[in-house]
């Protein structure tokens, strides 16, 4: 037996019990935008754990940067769509945004996309701590629903183009997109209501 063929030790992301636990962490991220939740106890990367948790045949997914392993598509059971039309879009955060996801309508703002961006590192800095090296580092100062006062989030490996594009996408509430940022250890959420101030670090 080749040990490399074994999955990571940890919770099976395809099991409903794991998905319930992952969902509750994501729920905490939505309730407290910018809060980084650890997801290091699953047998696959946090991004895959989230996809397994959120998707099924009732929804659609676009993967313009080919981040999803071919073998995972059948397990996700999700319909494949384009980045412009899918309900969920997975993208490489280090690359510039080059599509406009669906933003919903005034009457049905829920028909908007959720973007899952893979970045290098996510940290809620304590004091002067910053994101680990690896790509450009952005210090975000967050406010809005779910955040008493402000919260800092340091992200490395996020192309700043995403933030300017996102500012356009969420400019006319209730239209918008909701972002989920993932690194190799965990994730956080930036719903459309979160106000983001950018501080270069």
């Amino acid at each position: 037996m080749n040990d490399l063929m074994q999955p990571l030790p940890g919770l099976d992301v395809w099991h409903p019990a794991t998905q319930q636990a992952v969902f509750r962490r994501l729920l905490d991220c939505y309730s407290h935008p910018g809060r980084v939740e650890a997801c290091g106890d699953t047998d696959r990367a946090p991004l895959t754990a989230l996809l397994a948790t959120l998707l099924d045949a009732e929804t659609s997914l676009a993967d313009p940067h080919h981040l999803i392993k071919a073998g995972d598509w059948p397990k996700l059971e999700v319909r494949s769509g384009t980045a412009e039309h899918a309900a969920f879009v997975v993208a490489n955060g280090t690359l510039a945004a080059d599509f406009t996801p669906r933003l919903g309508t005034l009457e049905s703002p829920e028909q908007s996309a959720t973007l899952l961006l893979l970045v290098n590192s996510l940290v809620n800095p304590l004091g002067n701590e910053q994101a680990r090296s690896g790509g450009q580092c952005l210090n975000l100062k967050l406010s809005g629903p779910g955040i008493p006062g402000t919260l800092k989030l340091a992200v490395s490996g996020l192309h700043p183009g995403w933030l300017s594009a996102r500012a356009d996408w969420v400019a006319v509430f209730p239209l918008g997109v909701d972002l989920i940022l993932c690194d190799s250890r965990g994730f956080t959420a930036l719903p459309r209501t979160t106000h983001i101030e950018l501080e270069v670090c």
Binding site: H15, Q19, Q20, F23, L27, E107, P145, G146, P174, G176
Partner: protein, 292 residues
Amino acid sequence: MTSHAYNFGFLDEYAKKEVRRAILKAIAIPGYQVPYASREMPMGRGFGTGGLQLTLALIGPDEIVKVIDQGSDDSVNAVNLRQFIEMTCPGVSTTTCTAECTLLQTRHRIPELPLTAEQIIVLQVPYPDPLVVVESSENKRKTMHGEADYSRLLVKLYEDIVKYDEITISHRYPTRINGHYVIDPSPIPRWDVAKLNNSAALLLFGAGREKKIYAVPPHTRAEPLVFSDVPFRVEDFRDEAGQRRVCARCGCANSFLDEFVGDAGNKTYQCSDSDWCDEQLQRAEQVQGVAA
């Protein structure tokens, strides 16, 4: 997903995912009524199926659940829902203690004890749309909500003031969330509306019959619709002499009271929140014990 033999939380995993996706949208668009495909439940709609579907989509094996109806853990409705959860979610524990629970499903009340960031409150909703009273077409209501156009609802409230000198809505007081959507906060009294504002806990609302889910995220503005010259007032529990009535059981003078009429036609008052009442009573007995 289906290859796993798994039987927890009654709903199939597809139904849970549907509800979970709707919950996330509801938090991202505070106060917006997210439509979802509500499944048939083994109890009549109107018995809290919307709330129950939220609970079953959220619940995990380590959960500590409390279920109340009109503030009481012991009413038939609350007991039935609690038993259903115990039966379908092996490992989950239940409690009547507000401070202990991680997930609270409720109808008609929000507990007196302030909830914490570690708790989620699920409210059962019979009528989710506050605009129904002024507009019968759902399409038109959706446009009005999207534009945050509540002028007709405000006119209706104002007519009330002209007629009765104050806003007479006792329950389901229209409340604006994060400066945009106005929600029906479910049949909670005005007393509880203030608890929606800047809450530490996430509040989720489920309407099973109307197939809608909406949310008030933590630390979010929730403002009852008011006019500058007619302030929002909570229920008044003063007697004819202007004295604040107290709970006949525990003596609490700052809780929401239920009125009971005795055989002789005499009225007595008691905390509507039974766990709160128990806690106050226990505290009072401890103080007495120390004094003795």
